[in-house]
């Protein structure tokens, strides 16, 4: 059953063009963890607010639990929400802020206390129960906002960048906790984020929005491997996918990136033309001897970032900066000339005009190796 269903939903603020959301069609299943990502201003918060009933729906239908819900009041929808800017009650302390909604719902004091303590335990808030929001740090406030949503145990929960203000360690911890609670209560979660890791790891499915239009919906890993268009390709994955124009010659079955760099690949469906090719940074390899699939090319490094476990370095391909990601620590200097290896099987190819995917890389998973390590 689908819990939240959006049929052809559009949004205009105050009946004025432009459309902030345009013809959005998506079903979110009961108990699903649904992640929404997109650049700033693409309409993510607006979408959440429409589902919550805080913003009217200009066109289209919203169904909740199978019933038309366009005109339900926010409280009728029984949805909890973590606001992008927290929205804590400034005159109430942490404890009162968290149980505020439970009081309204007439939940018994014992149950209230139980949920409060559980949530505070999980979010490390127990020491701050009697403080006012203004006496908390940004991250602590954000956790209070999270706790308020968690204790309500509503069947649908909306979160608008709920971890944006936390440090890396706490964020990693919270990712796991939110996922755990969501599974435990079978909550239908709609989760907006800017964070690549959250987007990739938390969701059952992910939706990429740009300028109010759906770019792609699917399992995060499928989207990573088969980005529907150049926007998704460059938006998902960090560092982003390297792209440039290249000419495909159907007769010689060659992709020509420039006069020195040609990759041979069979693309039976494709006619001879100029395309946009994409290659993820981790698919730029260290040359291996005797690997017939590899095409080796010399490049000049112009920037290096040593991350400890990985090394990122960039170089110029045609008019584009490409970034490569190599495992381990490589002490290159800008100006060094090195050999890198590319594999034609790992290229994504996009139409130059429509920017839609026409061929995706065929080498993503470690199927073979996986069999070897599975006990």
């Amino acid at each position: 059953m689908s819990e939240v269903e959006l049929l052809n939903v559009s949004k205009l603020y105050g009946n004025k063009q432009p459309y902030i959301i345009k013809n959005l069609d998506v079903n979110i299943e009961s108990g699903e963890f649904f992640v929404i990502v997109g650049p700033s201003g693409c309409g993510k918060s607006t979408l959440l607010r429409m589902i919550a009933g805080l913003e009217n729906i200009s066109e289209g239908v919203l169904r909740i639990g199978g019933e038309m819900a366009n005109h339900w009041s926010p409280s009728q929808r029984d949805i909890s929400m973590v606001f992008q800017n927290y929205a804590l009650y400034p005159h109430l302390n942490v404890r009162e802020n968290i149980v505020f909604g439970l009081r309204v719902k007439k939940i018994s004091p014992e149950e209230r206390e139980k949920r409060l303590l559980e949530a505070c335990e999980m979010l490390n808030l127990t020491a701050y129960l009697n403080r006012k929001p203004r006496e908390l740090s940004g991250g602590q406030r954000q956790r209070v906002a999270l706790a308020r949503a968690i204790v309500s145990q509503s069947p649908i929960c909306l979160m608008d960048e709920p971890l944006s203000n936390l440090d890396a360690k706490l964020r990693a911890h919270m990712r796991g906790e939110i996922r755990k609670i969501q599974r435990q209560f079978g909550t239908t979660m709609i989760y907006v984020t800017h964070d690549q890791v959250e987007a990739m790891t938390m969701g059952d499915r992910m939706m990429i929005l740009n300028q109010g239009k759906i770019q792609q919906i699917g399992r995060p890993i499928d989207i990573y491997n088969h980005p529907a268009n150049t926007f998704v390709a460059s938006f998902i994955g960090s560092p982003q996918m390297n792209m440039c124009e290249a000419y495909y010659d159907g007769n010689s079955q060659e992709i020509r990136i420039n006069k020195d760099l040609k990759l041979t690949m069979t693309l039976p469906k494709l006619k001879t033309s100029t395309y946009i090719i994409g290659l993820r940074p981790e698919y730029i390899h260290i040359p291996q001897p005797n690997n017939p699939n590899q095409t080796i090319v010399q490049v000049e490094i112009n920037h290096v970032e040593l991350l400890g476990n990985d090394t990122l370095f960039s170089f110029q391909i045609n008019d584009q900066q490409w970034i490569a990601k190599w495992n381990g620590q490589w002490l290159f200097e800008p100006g060094d000339k090195i050999s890198i290896a590319l594999d034609a099987d790992e290229l994504c190819v996009f139409d130059k005009d429509t920017r839609q995917l026409v061929h995706s890389s065929t080498r993503q998973d470690h199927d073979e190796l996986q069999k070897g390590v599975l006990a």
Binding site: A87, Y89, P90, H91, V104, P133, R134, R141
Partner: protein, 270 residues
């Protein structure tokens, strides 16, 4: 150099403060003098005796009029806070057609001086049979454009997400008003309260019009009567009355000031 600059600044400030305070200080000093001393133009009384104060209470039902003033001021203040905050709430949190227009119409009544409408108001009150009742002294001041304007400006600074969060939690308008809007607006409510209390306490013309008997008169009118009662005005007694009447206003200012805190909204949003 710094010290000289600072020192001279203080001297100037003190002089100006003395100048501004002089009438009050002088009134206070006069309240201890006999009529003869006042007429001789003394600045400092010979002795600080309380005879004038006792006379003031005896010459007039001063205590009774003080109680009247107190009741009228308190009722007006409470009434005004209730009515104005409800009106301001509607202007900020309830969306209806013509809200903006209505608000400006409402506020534009501030441009009409109170004196211009005093006759029609008097006739209305008279027709209602409120002459010599507290109702006449209080109810006309419950709804004021200024109070509504002041509170609306403050309510507008409440982040809309607070309202939204309350709506999602299932709060209706009244509970949101009572549980969230009023507590976070304490500063403005106190400001309005003090302002309203002082204006009501000090009002003269309207109470003079709508009260005719001693029983319902307020303190300001009582003071005025001290002048006229004898042929030679006993300035010492008048000033004693003035000092007594001024005390509650000072108290209200001092007590209210403690509640004027900054940053009540801090921490609500990012």
């Amino acid at each position: 150099m710094m010290a000289i600059k600072r020192g001279s600044l203080y001297v100037v400030l003190i002089l100006i403060a003395l100048l501004l305070f002089f009438p009050i200080i002088y009134a206070f000093l006069v309240s201890f003098m006999s009529t003869k001393e006042v007429l001789m133009g003394h600045l400092i009384p010979k002795s600080f005796s309380l005879t004038n104060y006792i006379d003031a209470f005896q010459a007039l039902p001063l205590l009774h009029s003080l109680i009247n003033s107190m009741l009228v001021s308190i009722i007006t203040t409470i009434g005004q806070i209730i009515v104005c905050s409800l009106a301001a709430y509607a202007f900020v949190f309830i969306e209806f057609r013509g809200r903006q227009f209505l608000f400006f119409l409402f506020v534009s009544t501030m441009m009409i001086p109170w004196e211009a409408s005093i006759i029609p108001n008097f006739v209305t009150v008279q027709k209602l049979g409120w002459i010599n009742h507290y109702a006449a002294l209080t109810i006309p001041f419950f709804a004021t454009a200024f109070g509504t304007f002041l509170l609306r400006q403050h309510f507008k600074t409440i982040p809309k997400e607070l309202h939204e969060a309350s709506r999602m939690a299932g709060l209706g308008h009244l509970s949101f008003f009572l549980k969230v809007v009023m507590p976070v607006s304490k500063t403005s409510l106190v400001t309005l309260g003090i302002y309203c209390f002082l204006t009501t306490w000090n009002s003269y013309l309207w109470p003079l019009l709508v009260t005719t008997d001693e029983r319902s008169r307020t303190a300001q009118i009582g003071l005025r009567q001290l002048h006229a009662q004898e042929n030679v005005t006993q300035w010492g007694v008048v000033m004693a009355g003035v000092v007594i009447v001024a005390i509650p206003t000072l108290l209200v200012l001092f007590l209210g000031q403690k509640h004027l805190q900054k940053g009540l909204m801090d921490g609500a949003v990012k």
